[in-house]
């Protein structure tokens, strides 16, 4: 195998509490190939967003990187200087966020915010940069870009703002786009358009995507491989097509069974949804052993004491469950 574009190896992120330090993320490892779309799925609090932030070098107190390596294109980036990281961000790795209104500068026209990328990272002058910004807006299919370029974020709809975010992120043709719940704040029909647009532009530019979402269906549709996180650990990672057909971890299985899926009622009549009992544990009370054990239907004694190792799956991927196989 050729060297992956991004390799996250044994990542550990610490959360400093009142005199105690918790591991918000631990043992997280994954690789993303060039131009590949990779999905990281989990519920709120599972650590997926801070994993993304750590890749961007954006962890701030009380969070900090406590261990592991983040390798971008052969270069370890977890310890590089702030100045070096600023050069990487935007140029080689870029990020789009869930709520475009808070991620954009409300006091600056959107065209200027895109043009800034060309000025800062490619040394363009402002006139040239503004022309390229207009072209970038056209690429993300904002109607009448020559007028929109002067608009402020509040003058645009949610979908248009997210298009502007994508234009900024992809302006310098980065190798990796980190997308943290990019469509959660949008309506469903707009979500479909934005996802299609992101996938299309990244494919054209050869940009890899790290897609963060709570929506397993959305991620499985868009990404080649998917990792599922629960309470700070990856419990399973697989090829997207097979995760629905053969989920290997009881949590993944539970998630898939618990959601009403379109077309299911017409086929089989209304079935009672399978519930996952209990609640997601809080970080101060993570159970020992497998963190899913209090909610798992297949739990045994070993699950309550021993942390499951990553077991390779027959085709591709890993699962962390004592009862797999």
């Amino acid at each position: 195998m050729t060297t992956p574009l991004l390799k996250v190896d044994n990542l550990r992120i610490a959360l400093a509490g009142d005199g105690v330090t918790y591991n918000a993320v631990e043992n997280v490892s994954f690789e993303i190939g060039r131009g590949e779309a990779f999905g990281l799925v989990g519920e709120s609090g599972c650590g997926k967003s801070i994993t993304a932030l750590s890749v961007m070098g954006l962890l701030r107190r009380p969070l900090s990187l406590a261990g592991g390596r983040i390798v971008l294109d052969g270069q370890e980036i977890q310890n590089v200087s702030a100045a070096e990281m600023r050069r990487l961000r935007g140029k080689r790795i870029a990020m789009i966020f869930q709520e475009p209104m808070t991620a954009l500068n409300p006091l600056s026209p959107v065209g200027k915010q895109i043009a800034e990328m060309f000025v800062l990272h490619q040394g363009a002058n402002w006139n040239e940069a503004m022309d390229r910004a207009e072209e970038a807006l056209r690429q993300v299919r904002v109607p009448s870009p020559e007028r929109r370029i002067k608009d402020y974020p509040h003058q645009l709809s949610g979908g248009m703002r997210q298009r502007v975010m994508i234009a900024i992120a992809l302006a310098c043709g980065p190798d990796l786009l980190v997308a943290d719940e990019p469509t959660t704040a949008l309506d469903v029909t707009v979500q479909a358009e934005i996802i299609d647009l992101m996938a299309e532009l990244c494919a054209a530019k050869g940009t890899a995507i790290l897609m963060i979402s709570h929506d397993l269906g959305l991620v499985a549709n868009m990404c080649k491989r998917v990792a599922v996180m629960y309470a700070g650990r990856i419990v399973e990672s697989q090829v997207a097509d097979s995760i629905f057909a053969r989920p290997s971890h009881p949590y993944t299985q539970g998630l898939i069974d618990s959601l009403p899926r379109l077309g299911e009622r017409a086929r089989r009549g209304r079935q009672k949804l399978r519930e996952i009992s209990g609640v997601v544990p809080s970080i101060a009370n993570y159970p020992a052993g497998c963190r899913f054990n209090p909610r798992c239907s297949a739990v045994t004694d070993v699950c309550r004491t021993v942390v499951p190792e990553a077991t390779p799956l027959p085709a591709e991927g890993v699962v962390r469950c004592h009862h797999h196989g």
């Binding site: 469903v188 868009m222 618990s258 959601l259 379109l262 009622r265 996952i276 997601v280």
Partner: protein, 325 residues
């Protein structure tokens, strides 16, 4: 319809916005001529994107917004712009479950107080009876009696939504408006709440209006479905008709926009809509959906289509409703 629990006839709620100095006063037609019925014990799914008027419609049905035009009959009580509702009587008939279980509970009230207040306001003052009904209702939604003296912050999101449901049901209403009841909850908790709502519906003979943008949930719970776009119902029919044989391009676009890893939806991806919902202040002429519609023709900008029947009980407001099947 005589046997309907709720019937709306040409109901409209308009708002005056702007001022007479700058730009003049405009009329925002949030709900514009909605006609629908809900029978006792029935679940009506109400679908639409943000800005389509579904929440305004819910407030009107709750008796919290006076209709600008049209009438509403709630369990025999006639309400119009000139005959305001008897709020106390309304509260015994119609109740609401809100989206956000964090914002919709009073943080300074215990569960017992939250559940007992409605009873006392409605004349049930005998302490023993109030206590008995509070405990009975808590048991129905899966809370333990010893949790009655706790405050909302001591509960998880799913448990808080159980409190919200208990509060809505304690007066034994006939109709419950559920406004996105699971979308603020963790994915692994949603099945618990959906199952609970369906159990309580059967047990207490409730009718629901289930407002949601999650079509999987709507398909799972609804007997009939109404789809709203810019203040009007554009399609209405039995759940199977709507999901298996939709006749309005907007309904088809909504279904096509759902990521469908099982490939089970009846609608293919080429039915997706372009662009975004127009402003209700300035709806497009003719059919409101025409700027986004893949089937747009000249007639669509000239006149608003009739809400015609395509099958018994299945209506769609599209000029081409008979060509899609």
């Amino acid at each position: 319809m005589a046997d309907a629990l709720l019937s709306l006839d040409d109901l409209a709620v308009h708002f005056k916005v702007g001022n007479s100095f700058a730009g003049g006063i405009k009329t925002l037609k949030a709900v514009d001529g909605v006609t629908l019925d809900v029978k006792p014990g029935e679940c009506l799914g109400l679908v639409g994107e943000s800005g389509c008027g579904k929440s305004t419609l819910a407030l009107a049905i709750m008796g919290l917004l006076p209709p600008t035009r049209g009438t509403m009959n709630v369990d025999g009580q006639q309400i119009s712009g000139s005959t305001p509702p008897d709020r106390m009587k309304m509260a015994r008939t119609v109740q609401m479950v809100f989206q956000d279980p964090y914002a919709s509970l009073n943080p300074r009230q215990t569960v017992r107080r939250t559940l007992a207040d409605p009873l006392r306001l409605h004349g049930i003052t005998d302490k023993a009876e109030v206590e008995a009904r509070v405990i009975e209702m808590m048991a129905k939604v899966g809370l333990r009696p010893e949790q009655a003296d706790r405050y909302p912050h001591e509960f998880s999101g799913g448990q808080r939504q159980r409190i919200g449901i208990a509060r809505a049901l304690i007066l034994k209403p006939k109709l419950v408006l559920c406004d996105e009841p699971v979308s603020a909850l963790d994915v692994s908790i949603r099945a618990q709440i959906i199952n609970l709502l369906l159990e309580l519906k059967d047990e207490m003979g409730l009718a629901y209006i289930m407002i949601s943008h999650d079509l999987g949930v709507v398909e799972h719970v609804s007997d009939r479905v109404a789809v709203m776009y810019l203040g009007r119902i554009v399609e209405q029919g039995g759940w199977q008709e709507i999901f298996e044989n939709p006749r309005h391009p907007y309904t088809r676009a909504l279904i096509a926009a759902i990521p469908d890893p099982f490939h089970r939806a009846a609608i293919s991806a080429d039915a997706k809509a372009r662009g975004e919902i127009a402003s209700a202040l300035n709806p497009p002429p003719g059919c409101h959906f025409n700027p986004r519609c893949p089937l747009k023709a000249d007639i669509c900008t000239a006149e608003y289509p009739a809400f015609g029947e395509v099958a018994p009980g299945h209506r769609a407001a599209c000029h081409f409703r008979d060509r899609m099947s």
